[in-house]
């Protein structure tokens, strides 16, 4: 295989030799290091192949011995030159292609940001743009190292950045700093964040200010960070007040579970019109370029349809081009009438779903109260549901020691 490639690269000549004592030429060629192969006997002589580089030497050998040498076929790259000379346009086109490929691949066309969670991609891209990395910039016009350093300096939330340039794509990899949550260190109370009835209280530090069964409103102190000094058994109670004892201040900790109520709202039309899919589909495809829209496939029109669109966008040097595939699914109207019970159930389900979304929970509510708000003649049935759940309502709230001193 490699031999054949070298033959093509160096060029080879198929030669026909005529005369007497042809073995002499072969031996002389061999002695001078001219490589011959495929030696065949013909009717009036022999034919063989020789490399282009050895052909001239062979010619002089045969001229010396008075032999007749004829090149019957020339193959390989050196002979291809003559063909190329006749086809300059082809050569120019090929060269232009290589040059264009090189030229276009020396730009950065795409920028990708990965690893960011808190810092917005736009912000990183804006900063990179300011530092000279943007779509359409030449690769050698910036130093990735310097841009990395500058990005680290400019965006304080990131701890590591690396710009990877692969082909025409620059990938900015980012690792963000993980900042510790701010911990309250000073004295604080645990206060209620919402109204409720205390169900259970667990004090880890501080003094309980409520007991199970107490009704609390938002802002009430549940666990106090103010510790009363312990009364000494050696001091009579009457004397105790005279001694100016200082209350100690702590950071209250603990959990206060309380029953709280949430209200949700839901509604259901007594008669509803619903759009249902008939199952009929039609596809449409077109290419959107900055200048015009090229339709590849047309769709059949439906009176009512639900469209889903898939867009694939390509960044080209001439602007954004996108391939758009639209799938239209035919729809028809279906009327539905609900009895009151059904409507209440549907509205209740919707209200509970809204509530679950609001509370960000997936647990089912075990107890709920439904209240119908609308009158029976209304076309829409509205309900309010109230659910009771037990949750931790405590929240630390720092306080200043001076405030306490005033009290």
């Amino acid at each position: 295989m490699s031999k054949k490639i070298f033959e093509q690269l160096g060029g080879m000549v198929t030669v026909k030799l005529k005369g007497k004592n042809l073995e002499k030429v072969i031996n002389m060629a061999m002695a001078r290091g001219i490589f011959l192969w495929n030696i065949k006997k013909n009717d009036d002589g022999i034919s063989f192949r020789v490399r282009q580089s050895g052909f001239n030497a062979l010619q002089s050998i045969s001229a010396e011995g008075g032999f007749e040498l004829e090149a019957t076929r020339r193959q390989g790259l050196p002979f291809f030159k003559q063909v190329l000379k006749r086809r300059m346009g082809f050569l120019a086109g090929a060269l232009f292609f290589v040059a264009a490929l090189y030229f276009l691949s020396s730009f950065i066309w795409f920028i990708e940001v990965s690893g960011n969670r808190v810092v917005g991609e736009e912000r990183i891209l804006d900063n990179a743009r300011r530092l000279g990395v943007y779509s359409g910039v030449t690769k050698w016009s910036f130093s990735a190292r310097e841009v990395e350093d500058a990005l680290l300096r400019d965006i304080s939330e990131i701890s590591y950045v690396r710009i990877n340039i692969k082909g025409v794509k620059a990938r900015i990899e980012i690792v963000e700093k993980v900042l510790p949550t701010q911990e309250i260190t000073g004295p604080c109370h645990i206060v209620a964040v919402r109204d409720g009835v205390v169900d259970d209280i667990l004090v880890l530090n501080g003094q309980a200010a409520v007991k199970p069964g107490d009704v609390v409103v938002k802002g009430d102190i549940l666990i106090s960070g103010l510790l009363d000094p312990p009364s000494s058994p050696y001091v009579p109670e009457s004397e105790e007040e005279k001694i100016n004892k200082k209350a100690s201040l702590v950071r209250a900790r603990g959990s206060v579970m309380a029953q709280v109520w949430y209200e949700g709202y839901g509604e259901c039309a007594m008669m509803s019109e619903k759009l249902v899919l008939t199952g009929e589909k039609s596809h449409m495809a077109y290419i959107e370029t900055p200048w015009r829209k090229l339709v590849i496939k047309k769709a059949t029109e439906f009176a009512m349809s639900q469209n889903s669109t898939a867009v694939k966008t390509f960044n080209t040097p001439w602007g954004e081009c996108s391939l758009v595939l639209v799938t239209a699914m035919e729809q028809s109207v279906q009327r539905e009438e609900h009895s009151e019970n059904e409507a209440v159930n549907i509205a209740r389900e919707r209200a509970l779903k809204n509530l679950a979304e609001l509370l960000n929970t997936t647990q089912p509510f075990n107890d709920c109260r439904v209240e119908v708000l609308s009158s029976p003649s209304d076309p829409i049935l509205r309900v309010k549901v109230a659910v009771e759940i037990i949750e931790d309502i405590g929240q630390p709230q720092p306080f200043a020691p001076q405030q306490m001193a005033k009290k």
């Binding site: 073995e23 072969i26 061999m30 490589f35 192969w37 030696i39």
Partner: protein
């Protein structure tokens, strides 16, 4: 090469177990089936036709008879013959 020198070389090659084609410059002939013949350590071609080929050796020559004989590779000390080989003879 004189006969005496050759005898000494042979004895040394035997003693040291050196391959004789290296020590004595003997030809190494490899025949694959009857279609391919490799000859190493040759000294040129004496006669070439498609029925008969005579190849010069260090001592004597080798005569190959057959049909459609071709020299597919020819290098200063190695050659490859393809075709149908019928006989192979060593001649002095």
């Amino acid at each position: 090469m004189s006969k005496r020198r050759e005898a000494i070389s042979r004895a040394v090659a035997d003693l040291l177990e050196i391959p004789k084609d290296l020590a004595l410059d003997l030809p190494r002939v490899t025949l694959v089936g009857k279609g391919e013949l490799y000859i190493e350590n040759h000294r040129g071609i004496i006669e070439y036709s498609s029925e008969r080929l005579r190849i010069n050796l260090n001592r004597g020559y080798i005569e190959i008879e057959g049909r459609d004989l071709e020299i597919s590779v020819l290098m200063p000390d190695e050659l490859v013959i393809v075709g149908e080989v019928r006989s192979l003879r060593y001649l002095d």
